[in-house]
């Protein structure tokens, strides 16, 4: 297993997994990214922002039926290269966008969206 070089690329793995499935590339055992130790931490993540780019030397791979790391099929390469994740929806901004005097039901729905995005619903 050599893995697919994704150094410098911003990847949201679960989104990429859905994009591969939509493109007809089956990865039934999921995706992982592994890379070297980094000498310095990137800036602290901002809630709702995209993850930092993968450090140089990072590789993307899947797993075989025995759970061992395995290379992605060739058809995955262009899909991975085109992967450009959108920033997650900013639920807090959606609350702020509700105009003063608006229907309280609208405000309630936005608050629920925000809380679920940050803390999740009941397990």
């Amino acid at each position: 297993m050599t893995g697919l070089d994704v150094g410098g690329q911003v990847i949201v793995l679960d989104e990429l997994q859905a994009e591969l499935a939509a493109g007809g590339v089956a990865v039934p055992h999921g995706l992982s990214i592994a890379g070297p130790k980094v000498s310095q931490s990137p800036p602290p993540p901002v809630p709702g922002a995209l993850p930092a780019p993968c450090p140089a030397g990072s590789v993307l791979f899947t797993y075989d039926d025995q759970g061992e790391p395995a290379d992605l099929p060739p058809a995955a390469v262009p899909i991975v290269a085109a992967h450009s994740p959108d920033p997650p929806a900013d639920a807090l901004a959606a609350i702020k966008a509700v105009p003063r005097g608006a229907d309280t039901e609208v405000l309630r729905d936005r608050i629920v969206d925000y809380l679920e995005a940050r803390f999740g619903g009941p397990p």
């Binding site: 679960d14 592994a34 130790k37 931490s41 990137p42 759970g67 679920e116 940050r118 803390f119 999740g120």
Partner: protein
């Protein structure tokens, strides 16, 4: 007449001698005595009585190097003070990972190895394994397990976490004691993600994994 013909402490050779002032003196007594003394070794077995050395009378130079082994030491008598600080003979760290790792996965439902790993060669017996890391999950209330795998996925869970929020860093730290067979092994932090989403080892802090051989 009280001569003795055989000395009680010499038998190979022995010698005779007079034991009273009126005993007959024979010149052969001197010859036999000289022959016995020529080979005396204080062996307490026919060549003279053993010699009990006075306390502190045996110099270190009289002992061959490496001649004192455990057979000559009473079990359970070596104490803490007998072992030099830092000697490394009681507990020895054999392998360690320490750094800010790069690892994330969207695989769910099976154990996957992370990049927090180290290789060790052990002599067998009990070992202490310490691990610390910080993990995030992209799903609110995402649930995941961690475990330490020896040469493969772990056989039990070391921690279970339900993420308190989207991509909240959750610190995880625990210590295990495990018996390992002598030989080379890989020791790896595994994760098992059970909630759809991306699980990542945080790059905001170091992760560590250490294996120490416990010895007496």
């Amino acid at each position: 007449m009280a001569r003795i013909e055989t000395d009680p402490n010499y038998n190979a050779p022995t010698f005779s001698r007079a034991t009273a002032a009126t005993d007959l003196f024979k010149k052969e007594d001197v010859q036999a005595l000289a022959a016995a003394m020529s080979t005396h070794v204080h062996d307490n077995a026919g060549k003279g009585l053993s010699v009990a050395p006075a306390a502190g009378s045996i110099p270190g130079s009289a002992l061959a190097d490496n001649s004192i082994t455990s057979a000559k030491i009473v079990d359970g008598t070596i104490t803490y003070g007998d072992i030099a600080a830092g000697a490394g003979g009681v507990q020895q760290q054999l392998g360690q990972y320490l750094g800010i790792p790069t690892f994330s996965t969207a695989t769910t439902g099976s154990w996957v190895a992370t990049t927090v790993t180290c290789s060790v060669t052990v002599s067998g017996g009990l070992h202490r394994i310490e691990v610390f890391t910080s993990i995030t999950h992209s799903a609110a209330a995402g649930f995941y397990l961690t475990g330490i795998g020896i040469d493969g996925p772990p056989t039990y869970n070391g921690s279970a976490v339900r993420s308190p929020g989207v991509n909240y860093e959750v610190p995880i730290s625990y210590t295990l004691y495990m018996s390992l067979a002598a030989g080379a092994h890989s020791v790896t932090l595994y994760v098992l993600n059970t909630t759809a989403g991306t699980l990542a080892i945080s790059n905001q802090a170091n992760s560590g994994l250490s294996l120490t051989e416990q010895r007496r």
